[in-house]
């Protein structure tokens, strides 16, 4: 299982600077297991 953690929010927001609309994609596999990107 790949271990990941969410990047700091400010870093993520800096990536999205200038973007008005975002589509979100998560994974039910490793990311959900580690709480970094599943259903929650």
């Amino acid at each position: 299982m790949l271990i990941s953690e969410q990047k700091p929010l400010e870093e993520i927001l800096s990536y999205l600077d200038g973007d008005k609309s975002i589509f979100l994609i998560g994974c039910k596999g490793c990311a959900e297991g580690w709480g970094s990107g599943g259903e929650k």
């Binding site: 975002i22 589509f23 979100l24 994974c27």
Partner: protein, 172 residues
């Protein structure tokens, strides 16, 4: 994350959680149902490990942002059988390389490329290996983001990875 983004003034055109995001066939099929929502978005934020981010970048012609850092493969491999796509560096730089990892896919792990050994889109190490920096250039050109290559990437802090450098225990 949806609420957080909306609180910060971002619209969320849609969201989906894919069973195994690093499986490109599965991801491609799953995202077909969200064609309209993806088209309406300026970009895609992917909340998973580096292999999953690269899968999305490969199957969708859209700017893809990594929302996570991958710390370790935990003794496993992503569902990308033909090659390793994420070396769990702990500080994902896919934001600046069009969703293609040069650490995992460049023979020299270069953070700034290509090197002088890139010839005709191939790597000097083996003519069968594509130059990943050429692929990064082509991808960023397609997305109109060549300016991202103007940023000089400074040496990484490898200690944030659980598998690189000295052992660092960051997980409780």
């Amino acid at each position: 994350m949806r609420n957080t983004l909306q609180e910060r003034g971002k619209a969320v055109s849609g969201s989906v959680v894919v069973d195994i995001l690093c499986d490109s066939t599965l991801t491609k099929l799953k995202l077909r149902a969200y064609k309209k929502e993806i088209a309406a978005a300026d970009s895609i934020l992917v909340l998973t490990d580096g292999a999953g981010v690269q899968t999305v970048a490969e199957v969708v012609n859209k700017v893809v942002h990594p929302g996570c850092n991958t710390l370790s493969a935990g003794g496993a491999h992503a569902e990308w059988k033909e090659a390793e796509r994420c070396l769990e560096c702990g500080d994902c730089m896919l934001e600046f390389t069009g969703g293609i990892c040069p650490i995992a896919r460049c023979s020299k792990h270069l953070l700034n490329g290509p090197c002088g050994g890139s010839q005709g889109g191939k790597c000097e190490v083996d003519a069968d290996i594509p130059c990943v920096w050429q692929q990064i250039f082509d991808r960023l050109a397609k997305l109109g983001q060549l300016d991202k290559l103007e940023r000089l990437v400074t040496p990484k802090n490898w200690s944030v990875s659980l598998v690189s450098g000295p052992p660092v225990k960051r997980l409780s």
